[in-house]
């Protein structure tokens, strides 16, 4: 048994707004083993990015962590002082943001920005050493070292994302969170990047959390998948369990709504309705207003997150018994 690099227990986070409290993350627990890649899927507003922000403690002022613990290799992060957290951030957990365009400062050379990040986190002894390290990193992510002296606008979208990945790797973290790392990119560039990220992760023995709305992307890069709906984790399992034997009706709905270019052209089914407003989440199971199997208990009490078969957990009173073979 490999040990856990990350353990999240009963994490609950709210945003306070003028209209009231938004329950963005509600009672989420999961574990991530060392060297594994986990995917978090869900639609916009389901709390997947909020979880990432909570793990890194990069939350806006109006966010409150109501309860829960986050253990990184045994070190509890929620209770850490900001000063201590700063040592963890980037050195031990780093993040690849969605909008690589905005993650880089347009008026500084890309190389200088990465050196600055390394300096801030005490990873630079001599400038020359740092320069060599970054050149090696650039080669690792498939960029020419001469690009270090270029400005972000001289990079294409895919190259910028590579530079951001190099930056995330620069302090040799144990865990990288990639939030929609390829969403704005064309398929061929996306394919290339996903391949390289997976290879890097294996080579460096890092742990990864991929966050995406695209189940096909998640299917390709993750060993384990967590499905989120309206701030809650509704299902968790190995990629194969999630894709072949989904238990939660929402997971099943996502799969059947997703068009694919392989296999016979099947009818796409519609999930009725829209995700709820998290200012007033529905009582009980948050999916019940859209669920075809909802019964009275679903409207009253939130279902517990239980293990149904080895490593496969679901929060549903009426888990499905289906076996999907996409091909």
């Amino acid at each position: 048994m490999t040990e856990n690099v990350l353990k999240v227990e009963n994490l609950t986070m709210h945003y306070t707004t003028r209209a009231g409290e938004v329950s963005a993350v509600d009672d989420v627990s999961f574990e991530l083993k060392k060297g594994h890649a986990m995917g978090l899927v869900g639609e916009s507003g389901c709390g997947k990015t909020s979880i990432a922000a909570t793990l890194l403690r990069l939350l806006p002022d109006n966010a409150i962590i109501k309860s829960g613990q986050v253990y990184l290799d045994g070190l509890e992060l929620v209770g850490l002082k900001e000063e201590q957290m700063r040592k963890v951030r980037w050195n031990r957990i780093s993040m690849v943001f969605q909008a690589a365009m905005n993650a880089l400062n347009p008026v500084y050379k890309v190389g200088d920005q990465i050196i600055e990040a390394m300096e801030t986190h005490g990873r630079v002894e001599t400038n020359q050493q740092a320069r060599q390290d970054i050149e090696a990193l650039f080669e690792l992510v498939g960029l020419e070292p001469k690009m270090l002296d270029r400005y972000p606008h001289e990079y294409s979208g895919g190259m910028r994302q590579r530079a951001v990945i190099a930056m995330a790797l620069s302090c040799k973290p144990e865990l990288i969170i990639a939030d929609e790392p390829t969403t704005a990119l064309d398929v061929i560039v996306q394919d290339n990047l996903l391949r390289e990220m997976t290879a890097l992760q294996k080579k460096l023995g890092m742990s990864m959390i991929y966050i995406s709305h695209d189940i096909a992307v998640i299917a390709e890069v993750s060993d384990h998948i967590g499905v989120m709906y309206a701030g809650r984790l509704v299902e968790m399992g190995t990629s194969e369990q999630i894709f072949k034997r989904p238990l939660h009706p929402y997971t099943f709905g996502l799969m059947s709504a997703f068009p694919s270019i392989i296999g016979p052209k099947r009818e796409l089914t519609i999930l009725p309705g829209e995700p709820p407003d998290l200012l007033k989440p529905p009582p009980g199971c948050r999916f019940h207003p859209r669920c075809p199997y909802a019964t009275e208990i679903c409207t009253q009490e939130a279902p517990p997150f239980e293990e149904i078969s080895a490593g496969h957990q679901v929060a549903c009173y009426h888990p499905m018994e289906v076996s999907l073979d996409v091909t």
């Binding site: 061929i188 068009p259 694919s260 052209k265």
Partner: protein, 354 residues
Amino acid sequence: MSLNMQKESKMKPKSYQDQLMTPDIPEEPLVKVENLSKLFPLSKSIFSESRSFIHAVDGVSFSIKRGESLALVGESGSGKTTTGKLLVRLLEPTKGNIHMKLGDGGNTDIAHLRGGELKRFRRHVQMIFQDPYESLNPRRTIFDTIAEPLVVQNIGDLMEREQRVMELLTLVGLAPADTFIFRFPHELSGGQRQRVAIARALVVDPTFLVADEPTSMLDVSVRTGVMNLMQELADRLGVTYLYITHDLAVARYMSNKIAVMYLGKIVELGETEEVLQNPLHPYTKALLTAVPIPDPTLKRGIPDIKGSIAKPIDPEPRCRFFERCPRADKYCEDNDHPALLEISPGHFVACYHA
């Protein structure tokens, strides 16, 4: 005689353009585009003599039959959106013709319409844009937004317009209509906004719709609803679509024909399933291989393609795909961009090696 013709076509494949010209096509297409080009000037300085051009759309020909929907796919920068904008005449083509059979059945070249004629033409042709957060005016109610084309086209009075808007809201699934009609865009979700944009496009009862990535901003569970709605409307109202998308899986569901664009050129064209199952152009093959598959037990191959898409600034007179093509050779380098030829019935490819 038919045997003879078959023989002939086997010996020398007919170019796509030739076929457009042949009079034996049973039904005249609704939209017939010939040699369409749009160049955008890149002026380095106002005094510079030699001007460069971006060849956004470069000699494109295709036709769409009534009730058919054609998907235009390709990477960003391939000229899909420019083609769409030319067809609704938000842009004026640099060269080429766009014949459309609209309204009273006349066949007009709309490529250079102006003024009143252009306005009358817009009654038959509408566009749905990608981002429903940008395409709706936040200060106008849903009623104002949907009724706008009626106002511009001077159709009906206020009562009639309100009735028409209610009708359309119900049609696009925003029911009960009276609870939506006087709301503002910020009160609606992304999916609902895109439904409003669809209603606005349909309010003048157009014959032809250009949809530019209408679902790419929407979440999966909402997206399917909008996709199904658009298909249902096509069947019910007989609308013909040009569906622009970068997502091949979406194109599979939304079209019966597909055209793959690369740097302003159509490189492959055919029935959707045929092109997806049996791609012939190396670019189409690479695109298809690169699409992630929602099945962790399957492993895709590695797309066979070099580098990344460049800007078509004064392109060399050879195959546009030359730099990235795994099969490019001396012949490709020395010859012009290959013509779009019919390789098997209805399946056209622009490649010397297909």
